[in-house]
Symmetry: C2
Subunit: 350 residues, 2 copies
């Protein structure tokens, strides 16, 4: 059977003040009438049954997740409430082990809960191909063809040899961390480089085998985790590391499937500009709003009237208790604002 692990532990600090720690972006309906996490679940439903969908998230989101799962009819036992945030390796490893125990014939797709995908049909086609390749023992990564010299993403470099001919997938040469601008420009021209979209497909036996190979002590902890009473103690022993660093960079079983399906990582307010409709001056205005002569500006308004005049390259996000006004190309730094609010102990929810 096909399974999914949906990673929904993100804090979404870069979408403050719309997102808050108790309401991160995966629970916001940023680009449709449904929250991003529901979009993610609906997106894969043609290939993955509800009972095969597992969600990893923080305890803080207990209520929200339960409400969401009830609506969509996913078994409440399919949620892993991480006792402590441990990056992506730990939840993927634990849930892979759990699925492996249930179904020796499983294939798992790992999906972030906060990505936007424009062409769902194409994505489903790719996922289906990825599942086939994964059944041949590969760890499949969906590789996004770069659209700009992005310095905020990791890259994956492929080898000229195919891992599979039909559907075409490539063997992977290297995982590359967020590059500088010069490197990113070079990657954009070179057809061998893809963005790492964080979407992986594998069978649990393969991934557990790789954990055993590269992280034998962690593998032992995982094997002990059946005993539920001991789960929290053992969780704290797992390394806090991303799946990329822990395994994907090391394994030789990686295959990359090029995925041109309108993928957008909603990593910051600037990314909204990639998916929302703009007016002729490059503006996106949402809510009660009036403008004279602004360009490339994003206004996200709640209830109040917002008037803008002569702005360029600005993001405005208005909520009942907090307002953000930010240079658009610095919107990645909104997380620094959230950090500062924490430090200064402001009486506003972060």
């Amino acid at each position: 059977m096909n399974y999914a692990i949906i990673l929904a532990g993100g804090k979404g600090a870069r979408f403050w003040p719309l997102s808050r720690e108790t309401q991160p972006k995966q629970f916001l309906n940023v680009c449709s009438i449904r929250p991003l996490i529901e979009e993610t679940i609906y997106r894969i439903s043609p290939l993955i049954k509800k009972e095969g969908i597992y969600i990893a998230t923080g305890k803080i989101h207990n209520k929200k997740i339960r409400g969401c799962l009830k609506k969509i009819n996913i078994p409440s036992g399919n949620t892993l409430f991480e006792p402590e945030g441990k990056n992506t390796f730990a939840p993927i490893a634990v849930l892979s082990k759990r699925i492996s125990d249930l179904d020796s014939d499983a294939v798992i797709a790992v999906l972030p809960s906060d990505h936007f995908i424009k062409d769902n049909d194409r994505f489903i086609g790719l996922l289906s191909k990825g599942i086939k390749i994964a059944r041949n023992g590969y760890i499949v990564s969906l590789g996004i063809p770069p659209k700009r010299p992005e310095t905020g993403y990791g890259y994956i470099k492929v080898k000229p040899q195919a891992a599979s001919r039909k559907p075409q997938a490539y063997k992977v040469d290297a995982f590359i961390e967020k590059p500088g601008l010069q490197k990113a420009k070079r990657f954009l021209k070179d057809k061998r480089y893809y963005w790492n979209g964080g979407i992986f497909i594998f069978s649990p036996q393969v991934i557990l085998g790789e954990i055993k190979k590269f992280m034998p002590r962690t593998y032992k902890i995982l094997m002990q985790m059946e005993d539920k009473g001991d789960f929290i103690r053992l969780w704290h022993k797992l390394p806090c590391i991303s799946i990329d660093y822990a395994l994907m960079e090391k394994t030789r079983l990686m295959a990359l499937l090029p995925a041109d399906c309108g993928w957008t990582d909603l990593g910051s307010w600037e990314a909204i500009g990639e998916i929302a409709k703009k007016d002729k001056d490059g503006n996106i205005f949402r809510g009660k709003h009036i403008d004279i002569g602004s360009k490339n500006t994003l206004v996200w308004s709640d209830k109040r009237l917002i008037a803008t005049l002569g702005l360029d390259n600005v993001v405005i996000v208005d909520t009942p208790d907090a307002l953000l006004v930010c240079r658009k190309d610095m919107s990645q730094d909104v997380k620094k604002v959230v950090q500062l609010l924490k430090e200064k102990n402001y009486r506003v929810e972060i």
Copy 2:
């Protein structure tokens, strides 16, 4: 006796959304704990008795003005509620006639209600000198030495001859309308040019004589206006014109007294920058606020937290029902926003 006519009919649209039609800037405490109109009255109190202070304003401000006058102890009969906004000539002419009927020895100072003056003592000294010169039959204008090539003000050009030696005042050569930038730059270098601050001092006989000379039909209407029952009908017959266009540009009795007293026309949000204290990056932050890396930015916040990030040359004004975000050097155009709100019939007070 000395009298003052305080012009308080302005709409202050350029201070929207802090100012509204029912709450224009003269009633706001923009730069002190008192509203601007009260500041104006207190400023002149060393020279002008309360019973000599007359205020011209719109009917809409009836309640506000009565409250203000009661607090300051000005006779309630000293207010002219203009039946219809008519620019500055009509209220000055009507009140000059009224004062003239009361006191044949009067001298009147005309003062806008929404200017900021840093050096009150110096201003009082200048006003006192102006009154002396006005007693010699001159219409005295306080001329502000230009500080920048401002294109938003009118200019007054003086002749080399003195109108009076001690205190020194100049005869006036010409009134110049708002110039283009090239002209304004030339004016800044040429010592003969002053900003027209809209502050005039004259005896009512002199001004009425000039009205009789240049506007004989209007003079006749003014003379009929004693009959109170007929006041509104006659008011509508008065021309809607500024005192500058109507008289000051034409009269040969004009004398200019240079006035270096820290005068600021609070004409727009940008002007706040001239009087408020800035941080080392040129920012002015008022209210609950957090910033990373902004420059030359003004944040005027109400109750909500405002976070700014990487802004340059931006004005943010936050009120409970409306928010303005504006390029600072376009803050003169805020009145266009107000106009647009009127046209689009937005459900927000303008």
